[in-house]
């Protein structure tokens, strides 16, 4: 086998140059917690690797800007989990990051890598959907901003072009009245890929009707899914017991789970229903309490 060409980019500019045509397509390497496993399991033989881990100086910041939170693509899960800014303003993201793998995985794995791989089980991805986050893609020639709801278009397939780097993700701040919850169901607490994960953001208006509802669910289809049927059915409605029970068919329309080594389609459907209903009930309970 030909030796891999390994290039270490020390600045963003250099990385974009190394990815730009006419250079042949390269594999971007950040924390390596996915890439190194793919290589080891034997199915993946990159011809050229561009190591972007030195770009931390430019692409690992978490800042608030114009009512939004921008998180650099090279932020690790550990950094997101412990960021005071995220814990205050976007705890959903911090909590989901804290649920990834185990400490050494969180010390290496990055937000950009989670999006780059776009596994249906990726734990950051339902959060991106629920928060309506935008992925910033940069290439030598242009910058594109794509909402994550339009980013992942098939099983591990994304709209990213090979010359583009994910540089940051921008999260609009959720309304202060919104309830945000992260639910992850895995085989064990640490180091488990999700069987089902759900990021939920929603709020009721003063009359108690659903003002908005964004549910991002993972491991229940070929891609992470924004549950638009559920939202479509419930926005503008009171969350009566009947309304909540009546949402089950919409949940089934939103997801298409499969059997795989981690779980079964039947189990996943049931867990998806339970989690969505639990969130809706929490939404009612929190509104009644205030």
């Amino acid at each position: 086998m030909k030796p891999v060409v390994f290039q270490r980019a020390s600045t963003l500019e250099e990385a974009l140059f190394l990815l730009a045509p006419p250079q042949p397509e390269a594999t971007v390497l950040a924390g390596g917690t996915d890439v190194m496993v793919w290589i080891r399991s034997g199915g993946f033989h990159p011809a050229r690797v561009v190591d972007i881990s030195p770009l931390r100086a430019e692409c690992a910041r978490i800042v608030e800007r114009e009512g939004q939170i921008a998180v650099g693509a090279l932020c690790t899960h550990a950094e997101m989990a412990s960021s005071p800014l995220l814990r205050e303003k976007l705890p959903l993201l911090a909590e989901a990051a804290a649920s990834v793998g185990a400490p050494p995985i969180r010390n290496r794995g990055t937000l950009g890598g989670n999006i780059g791989g776009s596994s249906p089980a990726g734990d950051m991805l339902p959060v991106l959907l629920a928060c309506d986050a935008t992925v910033v893609l940069q290439s030598a020639g242009e910058t594109r901003r794509i909402p994550y709801s339009r980013y992942c278009i098939g099983y591990r397939k994304t709209v990213r072009r090979s010359e583009e780097l994910i540089t940051e993700v921008v999260f609009p701040l959720p309304a202060p009245t919104a309830l945000a919850r992260w639910y992850k169901v895995g085989g064990r607490r640490a180091q488990a890929c999700s069987k089902v994960n759900l990021a939920a953001v929603g709020a009721l208006d003063r009359q108690g009707q659903v003002a908005f509802l964004r549910l991002g669910i993972g491991s229940c289809a070929a891609t992470p899914v924004l549950m638009e049927n559920v939202a479509g059915q419930l926005v503008g409605c009171y969350l009566s017991k009947e309304a909540i029970d009546g949402v089950i068919p919409a949940i089934s329309r939103d997801i298409s789970p499969i059997d795989d080594p981690r779980s079964t389609a039947r189990y996943r459907s049931l867990v998806a229903q339970n989690l969505v209903i639990r969130f809706l009930e929490e939404l009612v309970a929190t509104a009644t309490a205030t």
């Binding site: 390994f6 793998g101 050494p104 290496r108 607490r189």
Partner: protein
């Protein structure tokens, strides 16, 4: 590719393929065989080392990525075989070592964690070692050892390395 790094406080240079796993470079090129391979895919923590102060699985790091980095392996803990650190001694006294395969990774995890949180609860210790699998001890004695070291360091300040 020529790669240099500071390993256990000493500058070392190796000439290895850049995608070679740091785990293999440590074991094969630097003869530091204390670092073990369990799963090779980030699950077990037997290969755990510190890279620039962070606990990471060396089976998931390409050697090319650690150019110029500071690396600590289990061999760097004790200054000599006779002078174990308090953590290493506690692992022995508390029976936290049976077959010993997980021990280097456990020690490195605990070493890094106690610097970050010198006074952890038992639950926090369990969470801290949740990326390190042990097939022998059932974890209790490992948690006991780490807890005892933390407590002792609290009462005898200045002892901590």
């Amino acid at each position: 590719m020529n790669i240099w790094m500071i390993v256990n406080g000493e500058r070392r240079e190796v000439d290895v393929p850049p995608m070679k796993r740091l785990l293999d470079t440590l074991r094969e090129d630097l003869n530091l065989t204390g670092t073990k391979e369990g799963c090779g895919e980030g699950e077990c923590g037997a290969c755990l080392v510190l890279v620039n102060g962070q606990a990471v699985n060396s089976c998931l790091v390409a050697t090319g990525q650690v150019q110029g980095a500071e690396i600590w392996t289990v061999e760097g803990l004790a200054s000599s075989p006779e002078e174990l650190t308090d953590l290493q001694s506690a692992f022995l006294t508390y029976g936290a070592v049976q077959c010993g395969f997980c021990t280097p990774g456990m020690l490195m995890t605990a070493h890094a964690y106690l610097r970050h949180n010198p006074d952890p609860t038992r639950d926090q210790i369990r969470e801290a070692i949740s990326g390190n699998l042990c097939r022998c001890t059932g974890y209790q004695k490992i948690v006991d050892a780490i807890e005892a070291v933390a407590k002792r360091r609290q009462t005898e300040p200045g002892e901590a390395p």
